[in-house]
């Protein structure tokens, strides 16, 4: 079980796609839900929102960026290898309905999470305007799939190597000026979600974001993933991972994500060193 049946390297090998055998999860999973994976018995439990599911084949797809030891160990796994643990589908699915015009904003591996949501929103009859951002064009993922999942697609790059030279927020502002937007879905790095939410709050446009706090069990048992939403503390694993972007305390989330920064760094360096030898 949890065997990798397909594997791709994207964005210059910094982002990895795994299609994994998971019949039960593939039958149940809906856009916006996540799984927890563990490479082996000594590994960490890592939550990843699913990028795709294939109930006929009985597989799910995850796309992750290599940022530390745990994801580096995931990267080592090849086709035919199995994850030691895979559980899901966890969290609440995205509420998909026809609202009219929707802007989907994606950055980094957030684009992978955004993809099934954009597709479902378009299938529900919405007009989907997508804005994708990356540092440079060669780091952008899933452009073709997002083109299919959207009515209009805008690309932004920090270095100007393709599309708009600048941030997704520039284009978002522009779109909100020109069009009547009913919903914004923003998924990507925390600063991106934070600034998108600030812009849409000014315009009073409902905004969904998908949060990625540190988790352990992913089933509500530990409270590690707690986030402040308005005046309340919520558990992203069971109450989320999607929340109203206007209410999320992004600064607290960013700080909590750095809880183990020193340990993670040491651990990754030791791993790289051992691998080099």
């Amino acid at each position: 079980m949890a065997e990798i049946v397909n594997r791709e390297e994207m964005a210059q090998g910094t982002i990895i796609l795994n299609e994994i055998k998971a019949p039960r999860i593939s039958q149940k999973a809906k856009p916006g839900q996540f799984v927890i994976l563990q490479a082996d018995e000594t590994g960490e439990r890592i939550p990843l929102t699913m990028a795709d599911t294939n109930p006929e084949k009985g597989t799910i797809t995850i796309i992750y960026m290599v940022v530390g030891k745990s994801t580096a160990r995931f990267k080592d796994l090849q086709i035919g290898d199995e994850y030691y643990a895979l559980i899901g589908p966890l969290g609440k699915p995205t509420h998909v309905e026809k609202v009219g015009k929707v802007v989907c904003v994606g950055g980094g591996t957030g684009i992978a999470v955004l993809h099934p949501i954009a597709r479902a929103l378009k299938e529900a009859g919405n007009e989907v305007i997508t804005i994708l951002g990356s540092r440079s064009y060669d780091l952008l993922i899933m452009e073709e799939q997002m083109k299919t999942a959207s009515n209009t697609l805008h690309i932004c790059t920090d270095d100007g190597s393709h599309g708009h030279h600048g941030f997704v927020t520039d284009v978002l502002k522009d779109v909100l000026e020109k069009e009547d937007i009913d919903l914004v879905v923003a998924i990507g790095p925390i600063p991106m979600m934070k600034f998108c939410s600030l812009i849409t709050k000014e315009k009073n446009v409902k905004t969904l974001v998908s949060l990625n706090p540190i988790m352990v069990d992913g089933t509500g048992m530990c409270g590690c993933c707690r986030v402040t939403i308005g005046n309340d503390t919520k558990f992203a694993c069971v109450d989320g991972p999607e929340f109203d972007g206007h209410k999320v305390d992004f600064d607290e989330l960013a700080k909590r994500l750095a809880s183990y920064l020193d340990d993670e760094k040491k651990s990754y360096e030791a791993y790289e060193k051992a691998k080099a030898q």
Binding site: E41, I87, T219, C222, T233, S259
Partner: protein
Amino acid sequence: MADKKPKKIKVPRAKMPEQDPDLRRRNFDEVPLGLTPEMAMLEASRCLQCKKPLCVDGCPVSVKIPEFIKLIAENDFSGAARKLWETNALPAVCGRVCPQEEQCEIKCIVGKKGDPVAIGYLEKFAADWERENGSGEAPAVAEKTGKKVAVIGSGPSGLTVAGDLLLKGHEVTIFEAFHKPGGVLVYGIPEFRLPKKIVAAEVAALEKMGANLECNSVVGASVTIDELFEEGYGAAYIGVGAGLPRFMNLAGENMIGIYSANEYLTRTNLMKGYLFPEYDTPIARGKNVVVLGAGNVAMDSARTAMRLGADSVKVVYRRSRDEMPARDEELHHAEEEGIEFVLLTNPTQFFGDENGRLTGMECLKMELGEPDDSGRRRPIPIQGSEYQFDCDLVVVSVGSNANPLLTNSTPDIALNRWGNIVADPENGKTSKKGVWAGGDIVTGAATVILAMGAGRAAAASMHDYLTLGW
């Protein structure tokens, strides 16, 4: 003057050899070292072999106490272990974590005039002896009935149900959300109180009896109970535990360095954070640690923090020493290891630095007023008694609520207003046909042995259902 009758020499209650507190407070090895065979036989000889043993009445799973003790006294340790297994699938666990002092031992006749027979020590001894020296032969199971049972959750109540129904010849599959079986025995109770190899051995014994184990299976998420019935299961037992930690809703509670006891213990025990970086999951090693709450879980957290290298560990509790809910033995062990109890004190807020890391907290002194609903004197804040102090790690151990993950996916199971499953206290039957429940998901956070007792009752009722009908 008549001659004095020769005085019968009274054998004193065995004293459990333990790791020295100064050593053990810095390691994760088990604290009690166990009785030697000689000590066990001597202790077993103290049992009066009562015709109507009150101790058995005190045991939630009715362990055949005088019978297994007699076998120990007769040097048949393997026989004693097998006698235990007749009514208890987890004797090595119970011998360690049961509150014997308020169950079997409190009823012991020997205890009326002196110290009761050390039933817990003897149970631990027999189970350990069999694990280390026994044949490894599984107890015999009845002829196959062809009925399939789903046990959801592999904690103490689920394992008890599995054991009982396997003995009766049913086919049992245990579903566990985590990657390792054992539930709270594995993620919650620390290694120094319950070595994980012991839980693994007890689960392996069930597998030898024929249990199927499906780890990484979140019933409610990857499969529902109704789907299990469609797959051919004839009955289901829900023993998923409480599993939704409570926080105190205080300012600053989401700062880095504040953990729920569940997270703190899961990272340390299940994920083996204490072995980081050999294991990948990190755990904060606080220097000035505060544990909020005074139950067994709070003691486990405090003693874990000491083992992870703390300079100071304080247990902050709003009532007085007499009301601390943890077992006496746990309180005693904690104090021996240098843990400080700060009583009649309640936290009010937390302070941190610009990175959101905890640096200190504020507490308020309390005094005891009139008794409340629980019969305990209500703690009342003393106005103006606030004081602040430094700390870099806080573990919130004030209990758990019912986790809704499974019950949300099973809307036809009746819940009480706190979200706990409503189950018949006699037999564990829920409002849904073919479904039983027991343990913390029904009662709210309680003990291992009460969960096992609920499992025992449910298993009997499930067997009736599978053979006779609802």
